[in-house]
Amino acid sequence: MKKVDAYIETIKEEMNCHTVFTLGGVGIKESVVATLIITTVVFLVGLIVTSGLRVENPSRRQLAVESFVLWLEGFYANTLGEKGRRYAPYMMTIACYVAIANIFDIFGMKPPTKDMNCTAALAIMTIVLVQYAGIRARGVKGWIHSFVEPMPAMLPMNILELFIKPVSLCMRLFGNVLGAFVVMSLVQGLTKFILPVPFALYFDFFDGLIQVYVFTFLSSMYISEAVE
């Protein structure tokens, strides 16, 4: 029993988001540090792969980067529609960040999206961007009017939706990553030899990347709805 208790304790310990250091009396959590690392890495990798771009006779690396960026841009522009196309770079950035964050477990670190602060930040950013896009596309009047569409009776539902959308985005991402993380900790608690590999492939890679797709796809859909 003592062994099982220790096992449970380790998992509980793993699931917690520790405070790495305190800055002026405020604890900085692991997820913030991980986010900082991920943003730095993503930006540096982006800088490196896009260095020395040439207009004429591009290298193979440049062609690969270009086709990747075009593919990503095309996908989000397609979902966002003609009017929301300008928000595609935001979606691409978020997709890059969340993709790395979701598979962060592979590198032996806790994924920042396991912390609700991180997913809440993403969801808040998205909903603010959705409202901003709505205001920008239709003006303040049109934006306010959009709450009583298609009929005035829908007003409470629309206002409720303003909170449901980010909460569902946040909780979906958070729950999926946390679930994957818990399953992975359970498996890794049993053995660290070969057995975790297929689990990691499914829970970290497949599920993590599907969640990236779903998160950015839903955000894009909200924006395209708002600008229509």
Partner: protein, 72 residues
């Protein structure tokens, strides 16, 4: 004991997710069999649907974890 029962009930939400994902996959297989040329589009749409329905199971899981952590 009661917290464990509560958590178990919360995880019942997985039933809905399982049934709905099975349903979605079955329908997707049917449509791919009927229209093999649209397989790529059907697959991606099915994945979104599956991920969305899986969210309900995830909500149940989150609630279960919350119950265990805060009430247990």
């Amino acid at each position: 004991m009661l917290t464990a029962i509560g958590a178990a009930i919360a995880v019942f939400s997985g039933i809905g997710a399982g049934v709905s994902i099975a349903n979605a996959t079955g329908k997707a297989v049917e449509s791919i069999a009927r229209q093999p040329e649209a397989a790529g589009e059907i697959r991606s749409t099915m994945l979104i649907g599956a991920a969305l329905s899986e969210a309900t199971a995830v909500y149940g899981f989150v609630i279960g974890v919350l119950i265990i952590l805060f009430l247990g």
